[in-house]
Symmetry: C2
Amino acid sequence: MPKLHWEDFQPGAVAVYGPRLVTREEIVAFAAEFDPQPMHLDEAAASATMLGGLGASGWHTCCLLMRMIADGFVLDSSSMGSPGIEEVRWLKPLRPDTHMRVRATVLESRPSKSRPDMGLTKFRYEVLDEAGSVLTTMVTTAMLGRRAPEARP
Amino acid sequence: MPKLHWEDFQPGAVAVYGPRLVTREEIVAFAAEFDPQPMHLDEAAASATMLGGLGASGWHTCCLLMRMIADGFVLDSSSMGSPGIEEVRWLKPLRPDTHMRVRATVLESRPSKSRPDMGLTKFRYEVLDEAGSVLTTMVTTAMLGRRAPEARP
């Protein structure tokens, strides 16, 4: 049974997940499969781009964020998925050997109008490096199961 | 030298890339690495979820889209990257054995105010199945190099 339900995510709540190390090998392997642009594959080519050196595909950053929040809380929750993404901003490159963390902030919470067993929770996620710089931000809404009526306070 | 520059993407232009087959093995392998929720890993568990059966992680769909547009035009272009994503909507599940296609539409085009060698192009991407159903939509802005002034018409 999931431990966390829609009611457990109140606006203003903040949690931090990680750290997780991202290596050069992971960055290059992901890029070779999904985003084979030179700035994600090769240091020499990357140094001539706007990244100024090898950096992860922005999609890789998003996928690592997903895995970190899955391990952080999603897999312990009544998550029913998400309708999509409201915004991603790739602010700074994710470099090899960064120990990433993710800061999750609950922005909004509302019950579903159509499904009484479900609530909607809007999160802002920030990917941070060791120094606390924000590399990427994402805003997305999660669909979460509500506690059974008899279990509600 | 890149063949395609900012000037080559005019609002209203449409292109279709693919098809690309996505297999059950790919869906499960991606999910195991980045999004290990039961609906992306196991048919029996997935049948009890809102997906009603195994479906790819929405992030996997985005990454496959990225690869298809990389092969479709990005790697032949003066792409300088992207500041982020304006919207993703996961409308219908991407099922195993789908032959995906991607339809790209140029929504807007404007020169950069700060960089005379760069232009900004807003695209809408739609992931389609064989029947033409739209599974996922994405809106994002690309930074593209402009043709050198002496090469402009």
